[in-house]
Amino acid sequence: MMERKLVLALALGVALAATGAWAEGPAFGRTDGPEGSEIGQGGYAWYRTPGQYYVEGLLGAATVDIEPENEALPKTDTTDMLAGLTVGYMTEDWLSFQVGFARILADDPTDLFSAGIRNSMNLEPFNYYFSLDAGLYSPSEGDTRFALTPGVGAEAVLSDHLHVGLQFQRDFVFADDTIAISRFTARVRYKF
């Protein structure tokens, strides 16, 4: 319940920031007016001053390695399906802010919440990106922990709105036990 409120709060924060960034376009002046009428006119009327929102679905696999602090307990290394959703806001062609949710579909599912940035290098028809998220690791049994999640990915640009690609992420969970999660996902991203 707490985690859901946190994700909603993060999403609301991104949405509010995006609304504030909706700058007015510049006035559209002309040079053939009276002398001095050009003052105050200018800019680039067609520039995309507001950003773009996107939604990204992901499906893949996650391997969870847990090494308990108590060495008497056995290590676990499981691989399960992973599914999730990410919502983001592109302030620039190369920079996005995003919040995400993913669930490891095991018998005891684990939820992964994240919020962070994505830095893209656009070489159409392909984009490469690096992401860095802060998040929450929330197993069905046990405490919720903070995690850092760097990731790298590449995607193909199918159209102005649709991208498909692959991503690898590694979750570093801050806990007494050593917990590391590797996520390999295929992604479909739609930009509005």
């Binding site: 200018g42 391997t63 070489l123 590449a154």
Partner: protein
Amino acid sequence: MRRAAVILSLAAVALSACAGPRAFTRGTYQDPEEIVMLGDRWNQNDMQLVAKKVVSSMESWASGGAYGERPVIILEQPRNRTSEHIDMQALYDHVKTALINSGNFTFLDKAARGEIAREYEYQGSGYVNPNEAQGPGQQKAAEFLLGGVITSTVQQVGNDKLVYYKATFELTDIGTTEIVWTDHKEITKQFKKRSIGL
């Protein structure tokens, strides 16, 4: 299995290196006199503003009639004293076209003199009907020299940049070297570096 996944992911990233730069496509024609500043350099709007000022000022001077009905003008070598490339010839052409079309000025084609001299030789060589041949001795004499110079200063601090242009034009009486007309146009443009959009 995990190693295969890592190798496949790296292969996908490596193969996607076979990509090229984005092309500018889907263009539309725009009004040339609308003010658009994509960058911080001299652009067509600056040229239009300078030409408009020069033309209106010269037409006001000519309407006084102190120097004949239609002053005969040749163009001086343009001078660009800014730190960037400016097509001064384009500016000259813009001014010249407007002044000729006003009907109040006569411009002589200084650049074509060499070509015209060769044409005189050809027309006098016997190949051309002598009754129709054009020869030397009929060219108009220039009365005035029109020249212009553009200077600029740039101020830049942090994310703010201010670019100032001053275009000064003069009309010089060739016989007396007297500057009979001069005017200038000042343009100041302010620019800001964009942040990340928030």
